[in-house]
Symmetry: C2
Amino acid sequence: MKMAGIAKSSEGWHWTPSGGLVAGIPSKGVIQPSQNIKQSDAVFDVIVIGAGYTGLTATRDLTTSGVKTLLLEGRDRIGGRTWSSNIDGYPYEMGGTWVHWFQPHVYRELSRYGMINELVHSTDFTKKHNYFSFATRSGRRTMSHEEEDEMFSRAMQKFVNVDGNFGKTVMPFPFDAYWNKNVLKYANLSVADRIAQIRHDLSEDERHAIESFVLLCSGGTAQNSAFLDFLRWWAAGNYDYRTLLDTIIVFKLKCGQSEFARRFFNEALATSNLAYSFNTVISRVDSTNNTVRVTTRDGRAFQAKRVICTAPLNVLSKIAFNPPLLAEKTEASKLKHVNQCVKVHAEIKDPEMRSWSGVTYPDNKLVIGLADGKTPAGYTHCVFFGCDANHIHAEENIDETLKAVKKFAPMDVNRLVFHNWSKDEFAEGAW
Amino acid sequence: MKMAGIAKSSEGWHWTPSGGLVAGIPSKGVIQPSQNIKQSDAVFDVIVIGAGYTGLTATRDLTTSGVKTLLLEGRDRIGGRTWSSNIDGYPYEMGGTWVHWFQPHVYRELSRYGMINELVHSTDFTKKHNYFSFATRSGRRTMSHEEEDEMFSRAMQKFVNVDGNFGKTVMPFPFDAYWNKNVLKYANLSVADRIAQIRHDLSEDERHAIESFVLLCSGGTAQNSAFLDFLRWWAAGNYDYRTLLDTIIVFKLKCGQSEFARRFFNEALATSNLAYSFNTVISRVDSTNNTVRVTTRDGRAFQAKRVICTAPLNVLSKIAFNPPLLAEKTEASKLKHVNQCVKVHAEIKDPEMRSWSGVTYPDNKLVIGLADGKTPAGYTHCVFFGCDANHIHAEENIDETLKAVKKFAPMDVNRLVFHNWSKDEFAEGAW
């Protein structure tokens, strides 16, 4: 499994029938050597905490502007909740995957690095198993992808249509979600609440379609997921199911997200303004007299004039800030976002599965699956998503995980690859 | 008309019934003083030619990266083919206007400058004249905006559907238009050719809808506009008429594009790495021995290690390059793009027109009109587009221009504002 020149991360899981379950997978995101700090680097201009895309972008922009920057990261790799394997040269995406020219911030960076001609389709609709399988308590059926889209589109339109304008009136700007203050009357409406409001207008199939799709987005449960959180996804997809699908689940990077993340890191490194240290977990941030002192869990300390902290919401409260963060921010971090998405990749021996997608809901441990690529062996790569409802830790019981995958359709599974975001100490949840 | 602190550009035209036609309009894009070069600025790191968004972005990125930059611009203002008036504090957009989160490069910059909550709708569909007027050789009719969208959507789908997949198969990536080499078989197909191919499947109304909409995009004629050029617009709007409309003609900046452009310029200026000179027309660029010498039409010369030339295609061949540019580039500049868009703003006394749009085609000098805002006086601002077919120079005969406006609907016109891009020596055409 080891690739020449590609180091293995301690993160992620890899299972094969012959090799069993192995912790850690190789990735271009692993940085070696793991630190480059010189003794002369006494006080930095800026310390950036976290090497996900936010931290990498800040680091790149600072270092290319001549600012002496120290990047500190708890993991052994860059990319945060977006990173790809390099197994036989093939990228399975452990977290954030799909890109589109309708994702403005990501696309600008792809364009900047000359990578816009490296997009590929996850699914290829020219193969034999060109259908959608839908398994609910009413049984298992197959339909065409056109029928699938029509059903999901119809159901989602009912779900979002609180204003007679499919959400466009109450949330005209996805990136400025509270622009219309009337939207706040839905602030406490859960996905389950909204479904209850429209239950008389929904077939059972439509209700299952809504729940499976919304939970794919939120990673939570129908009870703890906010209606408005989904409405932001919907608005970002221009208030249309097919446009939303195109925006979030069609195109990915042939080279993998970790290669993309390397572009940011390498550009920063080339400036000579970048010091970095991986495997460096932050425990304290003390700010006094124009100096910030950042202390690590193992007792090291670094100083800078400023700090940019990009720690994810669900782990922000694990860092002690002095003076403390805004009370609202600390409270939000302790409440946490609900996304406990389970994402499992399977290599399937049948190449004709490249055209397939499916839902098994509500009685399976994984909810949505779709073809996501062709592996170097010529097999089909499918990806499966679960959520906090019926949650599993995929590595704890591989037989259970395999069973959940095979519940979608008959599949000869040759490999599983995944990252358990819920047990990840630097994320405590997904994206 | 003069605004405190807002200088008047020599560009643009302004007509009122009482004041008549006046050359020049005030704009936040005018830079005063017009140059800031010091004697000590002997050799720059980089000279940027042109202060449109491309040149401004390059200048901003260079100066914030510590690069000593000289920005040279032929006009008295920044923004190139995108600039706004400041008439009684109100921005009429002379060129590029509409933005959306589906325009990745622009939206990233709006986000960077904290301006995403400054978007406003051009049209307000809550007023009395909430209809579309369609005047063709078959007469003048009105229809609802839903009927308008349905007709245009149906017609445009027929127009683009060369592959049975509404163009998505032959051009899957708008920003990488020739990714599928099969697309090249349409390289010589004109808009007129494509309409001829499908003429038996088109009603007269559908044909007029196609021609008016495509000419709005191309600014040319049906004969000289390329089918593939329109297909790029279509692909960028995700192969759907309504999505395309949302992307290109719904949201604009409340503060005007010139205020947006100022953000780039001001950020660059704040670095102290920016020297600039407006009213500075470039005639020659000579590159030898790692030095570039840029000569102006009035005989001044500037030196730098590198030059970035952002002169528009249609005027690039007016600059003598030594060594010469690639032959293909020079040839393209001499052939020119076809966009000779005529864009005329009218202030209309009736506030109920704020919900209106219309087409008059093929016998009017202006083709498409729509409500574009509410003026400080409480009147409606409508914008009208013409093209190279039936082309006019709007300032040459104001009565003819007014007549073309009034052909759309009865209108009490209080003001006209426009820029004649075809006579513009620094553009020789529109965007």
